[in-house]
Amino acid sequence: MEKKNLVQYIYGIADNALILGQRLSELCGHGPSLETDIALTNISLDLLGQTRSYYQYVALLEGEGKTEDDIAFLRTERQYKSVLLVEQPNTDFAYVITRQFLFDAFHLALLEKLQHSKDDTLNAIARKAIKEVSYHLRFSGDWVKRLGDGTDISKQKVQEAVNMLWTYTDELFHLTEADSEAVAEGIGVDVSQLKEDYYGKVKELLEEATLEIPESKYFQKGGKQGIHTEHMGYLLADLQYMQRAYPNMKW
């Protein structure tokens, strides 16, 4: 597989972790309680740690003195290949939890396949990340159940979040060109194969949470091609500010 295509394939996985990690980091010091604040920022740190492993690998593949920071901070919006789901804003706690749950269920399924990748770096990253992501799913799934089966208000809010975010779930299972090539080489995961199992598990948990499954058949897409929602620009402005204002600065 050509290097530049492998890099694109890795962006398709790593950028999700970066963008969701950035979103969650916005909650640092602003969580609804001390305990959930720490839990969400822990998840953020897990995701950013995974991002670093992927980007270090990309830097190695690209050579020419590239660093993980260049990859994280100095690309333009179109060059980020994260799905639309992960850039959605922290509207309220129900949205934060629902976004997390809808992504975690996919993320774990993806990593369980990626750990058998023929690429030794990718399968090693996946094996390490599985433990973290299993916990993320446990955390977000438990919270969806609590909110859904909680008070009238919590139920109403989480149902609204499910209805709003549902439209971003289908994109998780779209294959990009880089995906198809990576799958053919035994390096990548055929995400389209994960779809049926994903919706089965998600629906099962939503039912347990006494929530209704949205019936909408209209789905948004574009993130995997770098075409993002209006929220992405603001997120990147925050993320990239330091490197843009003080080029090559280091902590």
């Binding site: 309680s33 720490i38 839990a39 916990y135 438990d142």
Partner: protein
């Protein structure tokens, strides 16, 4: 509606073979959440291998007002400590 979640006491075993020690307390709506919160609040720097949580209301504690009658009588009973034995030199740490 009850606004505050109940308080839970957290006990963490740092290593296999050691006992669970009291690490602190936190708020949670139920036992499962208390375990998850304890994992995030108290073990994120690799402090533990096992966690117990117990709702604080289930712990019966002594009242500091009674400290006089409960604990002070022991203070002048030095003969309850085994400090009157002369130790052989070979015994280093006692």
């Amino acid at each position: 509606m009850e606004k505050n979640w109940p308080l839970w006491e957290v006990f963490v075993r740092s290593k296999n073979g050691l006992e669970h020690r009291h690490f602190g307390s936190l708020h949670a709506a139920d036992a499962e959440m208390a375990l998850e919160n304890a994992r995030d609040v108290y073990t994120r720097r690799n402090e533990g291998v096992s966690i117990w949580v117990v709702e604080s209301k289930h712990i019966t504690a002594t009242n500091p007002e009674n400290n006089g009658e409960l604990f002070e009588p022991a203070q002048d009973k030095v003969y309850r400590h085994p400090t009157f034995y002369t130790l052989p030199d070979e015994v280093k740490h006692m």
